[in-house]
């Protein structure tokens, strides 16, 4: 019960959200509906004129009077021309309005998605989100372009007919209203039955989409494990599920359609039996009877359509709700209403007793440290110790569960999100490149910057060399996620991308793991030249962080050791062990091989 109430509540908000977009086009749509009214009215003219031609021109077929013929021909041609134009215009307006609205809506949803925080993206699959922008948008477009006007036309015709019949014979008119309540009940019942079915279709569609999306993204793994057959069998389930949902919805429609048909026929029955009785008993004239018969199609046709329209309408509702549910969740991480007055961050960073917990898992526990602008910080520690989390807290991709993260003495929660992130250049662990040119990827932060700048950043990141060796140099298009580049090349492009931003804080989150030692040492020299920037270097190789002003050793979400290289070695703790493992044989090597070299 509680749940149902909740669903209803959402659907009300969803409607509001949709109408918010439609509002802009009320005038346009209103005008188009007016055109529908006109064209409906015009459709009565031609039969009438043809009747006049028969009556007045041909007459009894002997004394033909062609005097008025050109006039009638002119009227009919004119009317058809006007009707054609109106029809074209009407289609055009509905289509434009629906496309314009779709444009706004897509943009709105896109902007909304851009604002969503990581928590949201961790919950939603890419394919699901894509369905919101593709299939669901199409259902909405269809509704605005076709359903609205058809609904209007049907209702218009129906009530026009009822009114006409009323003017002919009030009793008959009243009788024709008898099926109306049944129609309404039928519509309501159908709506109830069909709504969950369409919601299911949208779910299945989304799920199919998400599955296909993952299969495409993970195609290398699928191949490597020769799991094509397994993927196909999983796909079959999704494909079957979608078909089943569609068929299921059709079953509901199949059940209700005959009822609409019968109701539609009931008008004829009423006329024939009741009307016939009235004519026989002389309470209605034969002429009236014939006239009412002439209007019957206007009652019948809309009823044939109603079932369809209800169907289409709920298809549309299902999509509106789906989109609204996706976008309505407010992100937890937003720029505060009154952000601190900071234009550009300097790079002083402080953690005060910061803890971060997600789903009962202690990721960071009581972490405190202070970094002055321009310092280089090395972070080392076990996989999953919380190294990247510290970086994500600085960029405010997450909010600390406890404690404060301060940048230049201001809590990051009080900063304008853009100012904060503008000041930080992050080369992430998981390099994501866009399917764009290399230049476009490096200049991601400043798409309009001159080429020299791009080259400068690439040189600092030791990427210029291999880029220039490529056939198209900086204009080489890299595939999505940087396919075609080796791991080390991707990392260097990602580093160049961060450098180009000229940030106050540079974060290298394990960015040189796939880069060979020699290249890495060149990169370090280049980075050391950037004096004013605060640098965070997360790494597993001691060589990457040896020159840092401070090194934090993380374990189980806590800073267990800190100090510079020498101090940490002296502590003979975790850092010392790691160092020994990596370089313990240095002295041996020197004695073993250096002598060889000496001999030579």
């Amino acid at each position: 019960m509680e749940k149902e109430k909740n669903v209803k509540h959402i659907s009300k908000d969803a409607r509001k959200w949709f109408l918010g977009y439609l509002k802009k086009y009320y005038f346009k749509l209103g005008f188009a509906l007016l055109l529908v009214t006109f064209s409906a009215a015009l459709s009565f003219v031609n039969p009438k004129v043809l009747g006049l031609i028969v009556d007045e021109v041909i007459g009894d077929g002997v004394n033909i009077n062609t005097e008025k013929l050109p006039l009638y021909v002119g009227i009919m041609l004119g009317c058809t021309l006007i009707a054609s134009c109106i029809r074209w215009l009407r289609n055009f307006i509905f289509e434009t309005a629906s496309q314009d609205m779709l444009f706004d809506m897509r943009e709105g949803v896109y902007k909304n998605l851009m604002q969503k925080d990581f928590a949201f993206y961790n919950k939603n699959r890419t394919g699901d989100l894509m369905s919101r922008q593709t299939g669901d948008m199409q259902a909405i477009r269809h509704c605005v372009a076709y359903v609205i006007y058809n609904m209007y036309e049907c209702t218009l015709l129906f009530f026009a007919a009822v009114i006409m019949i009323f003017t002919v014979n009030a009793k008959m008119g009243a009788l024709m209203l008898i099926p109306v309540p049944f129609t309404i009940i039928c519509i309501i019942l159908q709506s109830r039955a069909i709504k969950p079915k369409f919601a299911k279709i949208r779910d299945r569609f989304s799920s199919l989409n998400a599955f296909v999306q993952e299969n495409i993204s993970g195609n290398r793994v699928v191949r490597a494990f020769a799991k094509e057959d397994y993927e196909i069998s999983k796909f079959n389930k999704e494909n079957d599920g979608y078909r089943e949902a569609e068929t299921d919805a059709a079953t509901v429609w199949v059940k209700f359609m005959p009822i609409f048909e019968v109701i539609s026929a009931s008008f004829s029955v009423i006329l024939l039996v009741v009307g016939g009785y009235m004519v026989i008993n002389k309470t209605m004239s034969l002429g009236q009877f014939i006239m009412v018969n002439g209007y019957l199609w206007m009652l019948n046709n809309p009823l044939h359509m109603f079932g369809w329209l209800v169907n289409d309408y709920y298809r549309f509702i299902a999509s509106v709700e789906k989109i609204y549910n996706t976008i309505s969740a407010k992100p937890d991480i937003m720029t505060p209403r009154y952000p601190a007055d900071v234009k550009k961050i300097k790079g002083n960073i402080e953690f005060k007793n910061v803890s971060y917990t997600i789903e009962d898992e202690d990721v960071l526990h009581d972490v405190s440290f202070k970094v002055k602008a321009g310092e280089t910080i090395g972070i080392i520690g076990a996989t999953g110790a919380g190294k990247s989390t510290i970086m994500n807290l600085i960029c405010r991709f997450f909010d600390a569960t406890e404690g404060e993260v301060l940048v230049d003495g201001v809590n990051v929660k009080d900063l304008n999100l853009h100012t904060l992130r503008d000041g930080i250049g992050m080369a992430m662990q998981d390099v994501f490149l866009f399917s764009d040119t290399i230049e476009g990827n490096i200049a991601y932060a400043k798409p309009d910057c001159p080429f020299e700048k791009v080259k400068w950043a690439a040189e600092l990141a030791e990427a210029d060399g291999f880029i220039m060796e490529m056939a198209d140099g900086y204009d080489t298009i890299v595939g999505e996620r940087g396919v075609g580049l080796s791991g080390g090349q991707k990392q260097r492009i990602s580093l160049a991308r961060a450098i180009l931003k000229e940030p106050s804080v540079i974060i290298l989150d394990d960015t040189t793991s796939a880069v060979d030692m020699e290249t890495e040492s060149h990169i370090q020299v280049a980075l050391n030249a950037l004096k004013n920037e605060t640098k965070f270097i997360i790494a597993h190789r001691i060589s990457s962080i040896i020159g840092a002003d401070q090194i934090f050793v993380l374990d189980g979400g806590r800073i267990v050791e800190s100090g510079n290289h020498e101090e940490l070695l002296a502590k003979k703790g975790y850092y010392y062990t790691v160092f020994n493992h990596q370089y313990g044989d240095f002295n041996n090597i020197r004695s073993l091989y250096a002598t060889d070299k000496g001999v030579k």
């Binding site: 077929g61 048909e261 399917s435 073993l592």
Partner: protein, 605 residues
């Protein structure tokens, strides 16, 4: 083939080709009987509709005759009217049954056709080479499998049924028209050539229009997909506004080209309307002058009856024109769908491919050369052989071709020249599945599927028990961190591997690779994001693991590979040095020596 990005249109052959439409036959044939049944029922339904009108007419006529001519008794008239009403209800019920049956059947056809079309495209995608996926944004591939296919459902069911039904009624009406009056019929038919000319005129533009439009939609989809996948980068680089600008541009293109294409669709309706009026009028005017001339046999009744048929004549033509319209839209989707299905499978089982026998693990490269694109050689004349159970380390600068070498062993690509054998069997002669299922491959990018961690590891071997999965996780030191997650092995993760660090993801895909219990193990940067302490533990487990397996290891951390049986230094697509660690270290001018010593450079400073 040039690589494609989100705002580049994909080129397609310019000529209109009916072959894409013809190919649909394959998908429609299984439903031949269903189609026939549906059309038969629709024919019955039309007969019933006519019956409905006749009965109605009978009722009205009886009443009319009673009033005007006082032919029948009151009771008789009432009885007859009630009987008519009952017949009407009967007809309606039967007709409604047919109509609803039609919906069931057309849904079955429509959904069935797109179901198998989608299966075919998906199945084919599973065979396409990496290059297919590398060269175009994934959003563009995706939209073919899901959205484009969906667009066809209504057309291929209702569209076809209605068109065929209408064709029959059209023939029927034409016969009646000619039977009524040949000259009138000829005049009415005069409209057809006009319509055909109009359609031919619109067709070329319409086709171009839809093609462009589907291109723009594809671009938009590609960008949406990329925007979602790259959201972390976008947010950390504060690129939201620029992206919105690009999105607006693509969104606008999509709208603009849709409108351009759809405008041609709108033209047909009004044209048909106009032709109907003109031909009706022509017949009237002509008849009137005939009457004046005193031509025998032209009566008012004939005229009104005939003009009734003119509108019935054009109604099915309108439906057919609409079908044609939708077909035009559909063709632009079909081209893409079939285009994908036609995409050549480069790496495939040869004709007489045999099953790879159980692999022992001897691998040999003989004069192997390889290039991704025609002009750029990646590997040249690679020669080496590895005995079963040996471990081979591959080192060298980034981009030297290390990953390429191991990719060739799994036959992800075909060789340009040379021979690659496993246990002396040319791997290009064996079935791909039998080859790859015996190898454990861990790639640079550790892709995580959405599902539980258990599922992700089990991907390596679907038949593995939970215990085996856990054992694999323990071997690669992943067990501890997995246990700490709130739901342990049942923790849900998703494709972006949220919540897991890069190192953790590597450990999971490592476990996945060894769960297959492969004879050949390929580790491409398997431990690059793993901390040293875990690595030490891992090394111990690994030593045990590698026993009895041939392994290829690519790593930048040289501590990982020091104990390999053979180390190959690759530079610029060639093996420049080969030997054990100790052997290679004897040559102080060698590349490996330099590489190894460079680790310590910073200590010497």
């Amino acid at each position: 083939m040039a690589r494609n990005k989100y705002d580049i249109d994909e080129e397609l052959e310019e000529k209109f080709d009916l072959k894409n439409v013809k190919r649909l036959k394959k998908y429609l044939t299984p439903y031949r009987k269903t189609f026939a049944l549906t059309i038969f029922m629709m024919a019955l339904s039309s007969v019933l509709s006519i019956g409905f009108l006749l009965v109605m007419k009978d009722g009205i006529q009886v009443i009319e005759e009673y009033v005007n001519k006082s032919l029948y008794t009151k009771d008789y008239v009432l009885k007859r009217v009630v009987i008519d009403a009952l017949i009407i209800i009967g007809i309606t019920v039967v007709n409604a049954f047919f109509q609803s049956k039609k919906i069931t059947l057309t849904t079955k056809i429509g959904q069935g056709v797109i179901h198998s079309l989608r299966y075919d495209i998906f199945e084919h995608l599973q065979q396409l080479p990496f290059s297919y996926y590398d060269d175009k944004p994934h959003g563009k591939i995706q939209v073919r499998v899901v959205n484009y296919v969906n667009e066809l459902s209504d057309l291929l069911s209702n569209g076809i049924v209605n068109t065929i039904t209408d064709m029959f009624s059209l023939i029927f009406i034409i016969i009646i028209m000619f039977a009524l009056n040949v000259k009138f019929a000829l005049i009415a038919m005069c409209g057809l050539p006009i319509l055909i000319v109009a359609i031919a005129f619109v067709k070329t533009k319409q086709r171009r229009g839809w093609r462009l439009s589907s291109n723009k939609t594809s671009n938009l989809n590609a960008y949406i997909s990329e925007s979602i996948n790259g959201i972390r980068v976008t947010q950390s680089f504060v690129r939201e506004e620029e992206n919105e600008e690009i999105f607006r541009r693509l969104n606008n293109d999509s709208r603009k080209y849709w409108m351009k294409a759809v405008i041609y669709n709108f033209m047909l309706g009004p044209i048909v309307d106009f032709i109907t009026t003109v031909t009706t009028l022509a017949i009237y005017v002509w008849a009137i002058y005939m009457m004046i001339g005193g031509v025998f046999g032209i009566t008012v009744a004939l005229l009104t009856t005939f003009s009734g048929y003119i509108s019935r004549f054009w109604a099915p033509i309108t439906t057919m024109a609409n079908f044609y319209n939708s077909m035009m839209t559909a063709v632009s989707y079909l081209e893409r769908i079939f285009g994908t299905i036609d995409e050549p499978v480069i790496v495939r089982d040869v004709k007489d491919a045999i099953d790879m026998p159980k692999i022992v693990g001897n691998v040999a490269f003989k004069d192997v050369s390889f290039s991704y694109e025609d002009n750029v050689k990646i590997l040249s004349d690679i020669n080496f052989s590895v005995k079963a159970g040996e471990s081979v380390a591959i080192v060298g600068p980034t981009g030297a071709g290390k990953t390429t070498i191991v990719n060739l062993i799994s036959r992800f690509y075909n060789l340009d020249s040379g021979l690659l054998t496993i246990d002396d069997i040319d791997i290009s002669k064996v079935k791909l599945k039998s080859l790859r299922s015996q190898m454990g491959i861990m790639m640079q990018d550790s892709f995580i599927f959405s599902g539980t961690i258990m599922d992700n590891i089990r991907y390596g071997n679907m038949d593995a028990t939970d215990e085996e999965v856990i054992a694999a996780a323990k071997t690669v030191c992943a067990h501890d961190f997995i246990e700490k997650l709130e739901d342990g092995y049942n923790t849900e993760v998703n494709e972006r591997g949220s919540r897991l660090s890069a190192g953790q993801r590597q450990l999971i895909s490592f476990a996945r690779a060894i769960l297959a219990d492969p004879k050949i193990l390929i580790l491409d940067e398997a431990t690059s994001s793993i901390d040293t302490e875990t690595e030490i533990l891992l090394q111990k487990g690994l030593a045990r693991l590698l026993e009895g397996r041939t392994s290829f290891i690519i790593a930048h951390r040289l501590s990982t590979i020091k104990n390999s049986n053979c180390i190959m230094y690759i530079d610029d697509g060639r093996i420049v040095e080969k030997g054990t660690h100790d052997e290679l270290m004897k040559n102080p001018d060698g590349k490996y020596y330099k590489l190894y010593m460079s680790q310590y450079d910073f200590l010497a400073k």
